[in-house]
Symmetry: C2
Subunit: 246 residues, 2 copies
Amino acid sequence: MHLDFTSEQRFDDGVLERRFTLSGIPGILWTPDAAGPAPLILICPPPLGLGTVYPRLAGRARHYASRYGFACATIELPGSGERPRWAEADRARADLRRAMEAGEAAGPGLVDALILPLVERSVPEWRAALDALLALEGIGGPAGYEGGVISIGVRLAAVEPRIAAANLFAGSLVPASILEEARKVAIPLHVLLQWDDEGNPRQASLDLFDAFGSREKTLHANMGGHTGVPAYELDAGARFFARHLG
Amino acid sequence: MHLDFTSEQRFDDGVLERRFTLSGIPGILWTPDAAGPAPLILICPPPLGLGTVYPRLAGRARHYASRYGFACATIELPGSGERPRWAEADRARADLRRAMEAGEAAGPGLVDALILPLVERSVPEWRAALDALLALEGIGGPAGYEGGVISIGVRLAAVEPRIAAANLFAGSLVPASILEEARKVAIPLHVLLQWDDEGNPRQASLDLFDAFGSREKTLHANMGGHTGVPAYELDAGARFFARHLG
């Protein structure tokens, strides 16, 4: 896949933000104002479209780049933003909405139909993004991963040897097959959990944390709902990566 | 109760360590090399005697004092070190040891007999230590608390308004009555949990974390057994106090 830069902007904090497309997939790269290769952190967005989540993502990325010297990059998930939707995912999302409105729990079939196709489609794209980004001047390994749809992070951490550490947000439903894949993950993990996440059963997240095969894994649980992650966790994540992406 | 200094030592990092007795109870105070009143952190030792745990305690205290400008103090727990033992506690400890060697779980009666008298005796001593320490020149409020026997921290956080934040180690059994007291705790909390703590059921610690009434509470769970808290948690604790003891 081919990476083309489409625009760039330099901020007061010295961070250079460049929009790109990766064979048609929109993405953003933030690099620090520093010499020498910067370790790369892939930031997976929630599936709401980069336009919607840009302020949050850019805030994280610029903190990481300006204070810690990391390069950060994100790409749009399949089916989000301007990318083509696909019927299967739309149907699963509608079914999930109906179940939640009816006060029913999302059954395992529904979770699988919603999450597994997203994992299948997106993980090869993140690996292609790694190929393209690590080939750029000023960016070096090892790479970290952080983000939103935790099942994508589990699969990527299990199959991609260039990911050396991952900061995962336990804020979405996890198919049973992904829980099994978690046992194969061996890299250092930092897992965020919102104690009262509305759509996300706490015990399932604790079971996922328990399942990870990593010798070093830390769970940070905080009060509040899905969107209530405290501001101080931003720097805790940065310090986790600073320990592992030397 | 009356505080008398018995010896002092200044370290390379500028920290002044002073041994004292508080109406006969041995204690240690570490203060930073800085002008102006330093916020105070009480560090409760595990019940193994200050002589045994000194290296660990002094390491924490000097990190807090030299890097963050906190004053830190500890006192010997009742029944530990050179302090008089009491028959009731010795009997409970022996019963607990027998139960564990027989592979039995410690029943609630045993937990109560072991923990509640320690809470009853030690909390007034920590409050007296606060009186004496906050009256010293160079030490100001608000105060923080951290330490080992978590039930002592729960009671102290529930009843002592001068404690503004607490960093608690969920590494000991908790009587049901203390679990109830946890609901009254309202101050910001930072709770450490070792995921595979041998003598300490994980679910009981998660239940305790859940029970705390505090609006701001964070759980940091790490891999390993009781004594395996990772070194990076030292600074995470310091940063928690830095947010709350301004």
